[in-house]
């Protein structure tokens, strides 16, 4: 069972449906016991970093996630959920994240040419940087769907894929059992479903 963390940000309907489509059970929950029983954990998220980080903390989920990640349970963040895994974000100030991955979240405006549109929105091809089981069913150049204005920086060791948008932006990260996708696999057609399938399989091995 995949636990999809419900902490009051964003719509989890599509994510839950995409797990159903690959024959996996996705349970939307904020219950610590359910999270402990889960084979793997998905941290979704849309909206502002500071607001989402605060919601995680006030629900006590930050400590729960850190403890479960330390035990080796596969934990993947999606979009803002991925950004929350890092040490800090410079979205409207400087805000502390979960610190499960080394690096910081910075505005894409810092690195892309001025005539590029922000947000980076649409389908972009994956450039593979490291072999990782998360990408085992995916080919270099396969397109996935992005919607974001901030990106994960200072995290070269963890980057497994990037996308070219005037600069190479972090697309997917992994450090042991802690993983993240900047794009939305649940909106990335067959390619996205393959990535979710690979993630589910990481949990089954445990």
């Amino acid at each position: 069972m995949v636990a999809i963390i419900d902490y009051g940000v964003g719509n989890l309907f599509s994510l839950q449906s995409s797990f159903a489509a690959i024959g996996a059970e996705g349970t939307v929950t904020a219950d610590k016991e359910v999270l402990e029983k889960a084979d793997c954990i998905l941290l979704p998220g849309v909206g502002a970093f500071a607001d989402a980080a605060e919601k995680l903390r006030s629900a006590g989920l930050d400590q729960v996630l850190k403890a479960l990640a330390a035990k080796g349970k596969p934990l993947m963040g999606i979009c803002l959920g991925m950004q929350l895994l890092f040490e800090r974000s410079y979205e409207y100030g400087c805000h502390e994240g979960l610190g499960l991955l080394k690096g910081a979240v910075r505005p894409i405006a810092d690195v892309i040419p001025a005539d590029y549109k922000i947000p980076h929105i649409g389908w972009n091809g994956l450039i593979m940087k490291q072999d990782n089981p998360l990408m085992k069913y995916v080919q270099p150049g396969d397109c996935v769907y992005f919607v974001h204005s901030y990106y994960a920086a200072d995290c070269d060791e963890a980057v497994i894929a990037t996308a070219e948008y005037g600069a190479e932006l972090t697309a997917a990260v992994a450090s042991g059992n802690v993983l993240g996708c900047q794009f939305h696999p649940e909106k990335s057609g067959e390619v996205g479903l393959k990535i979710l399938k690979a993630f589910v399989e990481m949990g089954e091995k445990k």
Binding site: F13, S14, S17, V46, P119, I121, W123, C143, K187, G189
Partner: protein, 253 residues
């Protein structure tokens, strides 16, 4: 590299696609769910469902098919038609829509875009605008293109983007239905005025029209069409194959 999006638009009334067509392998040509799945398998990069229902019963049917589609189609889904309040945003987003397109609702209620963008983020709010030349000036038309609002279109679009519209669908009434190609002059004027993604609508009649669009105006992000896809005049798979041949950045499936 970011790819150019191809977006079929489905008009839905009382939960059924208005312009049904016969595609091979499609059991129910009027089912938005089946048609959505078909387009997704052909390489559509996004779907737009446009609700043209008048009754509240029909609205319920629409949200039902929206949920059903979101269960089966895993590409971005934009919903428009009858969006007048932030509650309307809520209603369709809960059913699996990713973006909501506003047109007449934004004209009637100028704070709608601002309120929705604050609550759901700019990326969620799409401005759809029907534009027609009147004495050489681009004017905004309301009520499905029937009523001249008198508003100058470029100023209106800029204002909506400043308020938080994250994308703009520009539908040229002058070229709509003519099938002689997109309204390049109008689209260029919009692209020069705003820095958010611009989606071209109105006028596509053949594959070459999309090629010309993306080659002439590299700033345009997507091409949207309805009947030429529904009637099989342009097959999305063929269109994308041609885009690849012409070296236009394209997502292949």
């Amino acid at each position: 590299m970011i790819t150019k999006r191809i977006i079929p638009c489905l008009d839905v009334r009382d939960g059924r696609v208005v312009k049904g067509v016969n595609f091979e392998g499609l059991r129910d040509v009027s089912s938005p769910v089946e048609l959505g799945m078909y387009y997704s398998s052909c390489g559509a990069d996004e779907l737009v469902f446009y609700d043209i229902t008048a009754s509240s019963d029909g609205r319920k049917l629409f949200t039902d098919i929206l949920c059903e589609t979101a269960r089966k189609v895993f590409i971005p889904l934009t919903v428009g038609g009858g969006i007048n309040t932030v509650e309307d945003f809520d209603r369709v987003l809960k059913c699996g829509a990713d973006k909501v397109s506003v047109n007449s609702g934004a004209i009637r209620n100028p704070s709608l875009i601002l309120d929705a963008a604050k609550r759901y983020g700019d990326q969620c709010v799409v401005l759809s605008v029907d534009v027609k030349r009147v004495d050489g000036v681009f004017r905004v038309f309301a009520k499905g293109g029937r009523e001249n609002t008198g508003q100058e279109a470029i100023a209106w679009i800029k204002q909506c983007v400043d308020n938080g519209a994250g994308e703009v669908v520009v539908n040229s009434i002058d070229t709509d239905g003519v099938k002689g190609g997109f309204d390049l002059e109008m689209l260029e004027a919009v692209c020069d005025a705003v820095s958010v993604p611009v989606i071209a609508s109105g006028g596509a009649g053949k594959i070459q029209d999309f090629i010309t669009l993306f080659q002439t105006l590299p700033k345009v992000d997507a091409g949207l069409a309805a009947s030429i896809f529904h009637f099989g005049e342009v097959h999305i798979a063929d269109l994308k194959a041609q885009m690849v041949k012409e070296n236009i950045p394209t997502r292949r499936v």
